[in-house]
């Protein structure tokens, strides 16, 4: 059956199914977008910096060194030290790991939840769609930061908990996007044919709707990751993120701000810059992917 109804062989009007040639076209178009390529480079750099960097530039991020606090950048500490003597460059790598892991995992989780929710709502239609989307509307009406603050006041989340919480407050926007995509796809001939020959709803969603929404899902995922990294920074800045001795860029920024008026710029600029660059990079990649997958611009 799947051999007969190959999505790639069914002519579509607006969205081209993902095929080998489609992928090559998308890659070509992505490479033409310079900002997206720079963004990819920035993300790659920060992944190497955070995960490979500690192997090259080894520092002690567990013990405090109270005789070496707030030292300015020097040959022995390239980005100086913080208020308890941690090497800031090493801490930037250490904190970056947390920011990237939480951001990636929460972004992916949000996308998965949003995709499933949106696909089911869009495909089912009728009152099921209405109820599910009103849930989304209600969720969007409540600021995520408010929910995070309430949850953090009740419990002290660990890394996994933080990922789950961020994932569960961020899935609403992707669900809307996937629902819109599903509403279009569910009336395509190949989906209608599948239903006519007895294919189940589940099979229609899993084998046809979702694979043909993959471009939207990927684009949404990149934006979700960027948002999640910012959210982690938010909650950590407010002192409600990961617990010491762990840290992340938001936590570093928060701790560094205490010394903002003491001239210790190395406690503020590096984590602040890292957050801005990574968030911008993921957004640039997302924009590039959106353009790459957009059939209207293909040449």
């Amino acid at each position: 059956m799947s051999a007969v109804i190959q999505p790639g062989r069914v002519p579509g009007k607006a969205t081209a199914p993902v095929t080998a040639s489609g992928t090559r076209l998308a890659v070509r178009r992505f490479r033409r977008n310079r900002l997206a390529v720079v963004g990819l480079g920035v993300v790659a750099f920060f992944f190497l910096f955070c995960f490979v960097g500690p192997l090259v530039y080894s520092t002690d991020q567990t013990h405090t060194l109270l005789d070496q606090v707030n030292l300015a950048p020097s040959g022995s500490h390239w980005l100086g030290t913080d208020a308890v003597g941690h090497d800031v460059l090493g801490r930037l790598m250490y904190g970056g790991k947390v920011s990237l892991i939480v951001g990636l995992a929460a972004g992916v989780l949000a996308t998965v939840i949003g995709t499933l929710w949106g696909a089911v709502a869009g495909y089912a239609g009728g009152w099921i769609d209405a109820v599910m989307m009103r849930v989304v509307d209600a969720g969007i009406a409540i600021p995520a930061l408010f929910i995070l603050l309430v949850v953090s006041a009740i419990t002290t989340p660990d890394l996994t908990g933080l990922i789950v919480i961020l994932g569960f407050v961020s899935w609403l926007v992707p669900s809307r996007l996937i629902r819109a995509e599903t509403l279009s796809l569910k009336n395509r001939d190949y989906v209608l044919t599948l239903r006519a020959i007895g294919g189940t709803h589940g099979r229609a969603i899993i084998r046809h709707i979702l694979p043909n929404s993959v471009s939207t899902i990927i684009v949404a995922a990149t934006f979700q990751i960027a948002d999640a990294i910012l959210l982690v920074a938010y909650v950590s800045y407010l002192g409600l993120g990961v617990q010491p001795p762990s840290t992340d860029w938001g936590g570093m920024l928060s701790a560094g701000l205490t010394a903002a008026y003491s001239g210790y710029w190395w406690l503020i600029i590096p984590p602040g810059l890292a957050i801005i660059l990574v968030v911008w990079a993921f957004n640039a990649i997302g924009d590039g992917l959106r353009d790459a997958f957009d059939v209207r611009g293909r040449g």
């Binding site: 900002l35 567990t62 013990h63 405090t64 109270l66 005789d67 606090v69 208020a83 308890v84 969007i140 600021p143 995520a144 006041a153 002290t156 961020s170 926007v173 996007l177 939207t216 684009v219 949404a220 934006f223 960027a226 948002d227 910012l230 920074a233 938010y234 800045y237 407010l238 002192g239 409600l240 617990q243 010491p244 001795p245 920024l253 928060s254 701790a255 701000l257 205490t258 010394a259 903002a260 008026y261 003491s262 503020i268 602040g272 957050i275 801005i276 968030v279 911008w280 957004n283 640039a284 997302g286 924009d287 959106r290």
Partner: protein, 605 residues
Amino acid sequence: MILTRTVNSRRWALAAGAATTAAVLLSGCSGGGTTSSGSGSSDSINYALPANFTPNWILPVGTAAHLNTNNSSISQSLWEPLIAYDGSTGKVGWNKDNSLATAADFAEDGKSVKITLGDRHWSDGEQITSRDVQFWFNLVKANKEDWASYSPGKAPDNWTALKIVDDTHFTITFDKAYNTQWMLANELSMIRPMPQHVWDKTSDAGKVSDLDLTPEGAKKVWTYLNTAAKKISGYATDPLWKTVSGPYTIKSFSTAGKVQLLANAKYDGGGKANIKTVNLLPFTTTDAEENALRAGTVDYGYINATNLSQEASFTAKGYTLKPWAGWAITYMPYNFNNPAMGPVFKQLYARQAIQMSVDQATLSKVIFNGTAVSTYGPVPQGQTSSFVSEAQKNNPYPFSTAKARKLLTDHGWTEQNGTMVCTDAGSGDDQCGAGVDKGTKFKMQVLSQSGSTVTDNLMSALQSSFAKSGIGFGIKTAPVNSVLSQAGQCKAGDSGCKWQLSFFGSAGSWYFPAYPSGDSLFATGGGSNFGSYSNPDVDKLVEKTTTDSSDAAMQKYSEALAKDLPVIWLPEPDYQVSVVRSGLGGFAQDSLANFHPAMWKWTKK
């Protein structure tokens, strides 16, 4: 906002959004509330509450969960104490201007006191009488187990009776003779006359009568008042809270923590308010509060001790820095009943190893930027006092992680993967000790108050130091109200007994009354003996501090607890480094950590 935008948003808008986010963060978006420059009027003042503290109680009697000097300061501005024994005049003593009593005459045998009330009135015009004192007395007597300040054997147990002589005179008798200064400063100062003619009922619509005269009735009234007091949103509107005796009334009281006090026009005491409106502003972090100071929206605030070097920048903005030293100690209580770590904490050698891992001198100098004083026992060491023993002064357990490790290895512990593990269980001298199972890891968990960078740094430094001794130290943070409510007395089987260590001392853990006796903190069953510490020998010494007026009694108590380590002793920081707008005067910073808004006065603005 980032969360609600769609995929179609433009890339530069996103980058700008990220930059804006950083800018907003830098500006300290989590702060308090006003946007104008200071209070903007000589009739008002903006006072910054401690970071992450939200006022949540005004009733003059309450449970331990609401124990906080800031709650108490607000409450005392509404309902004046019988005897205000504080440091509001610059020296700890009886401030008669802010007291309802005008005299306290002790009997020659020291077994009773006759108290005289001033000619004072409630805000509804009714006279404040001995019956209002009796009302408080009866409620506390009948509900002593729930009263935050209760310590068995002490008030109200040792007050055998209150006898009304007339409307302005009454006598309280004691179970034995007491040190009269201790009785005045530490016990009688807790009495808070309450409007019996308004509060002696059991429901909003109920009729006021003499319910408090029976224990059953007093219990019902207590329950009613405490239930009403839990409804913070009703503080400004509930008629119950309109009848006050203090210099202020409540204008507004937000559940988010912002409080507005309005001068009580009917006040007839000696501590009349000088400023009509007092705005008490909450802040989630010290950084946010500092940003508000720099923006000029706070008249009386504070800065991190680490920022003392920035004095010139505040002076240039028209502020003066005034360190506020407290009559206090700072510590981390052990939960001796915690199922996992309680048996370990009960071993003196284990507590010694922990204390030896705390380098107070370096912590005071580096983490607190020189604004803390090493404190090795139960008596404050920040101010000269004849109560401190030589043992406490000289630190019986000097910092040495090497000695701490040896102490543990000499008692059946072996280091495995950086953490000590009990490998020789038993109660012998060289074994882990009674109740400590083989395989027990020496890993402790602290629930620490959030919102202070200095506290975060302190916890990181302690964690590092403990690790060198092979002691694990996990850190969790929560707002201080949450820490206080979770770190209560408990029994091993209780669900609320999971806490092992708690820290609520960013600005000092415990502020003493004039006499720093530890009856509430370290006596068996003491109302604020959070970790259930118990030592019969210490109980006797505590008892003696309350009956013997000599310094020797206090010194023996000081020595015993410096050696027995009922808690982890930590450096005592200044209560806060205050930043006060020039022109605000008329007050001294109370070393008992209360603030007294009625004394604040604008000399120019």
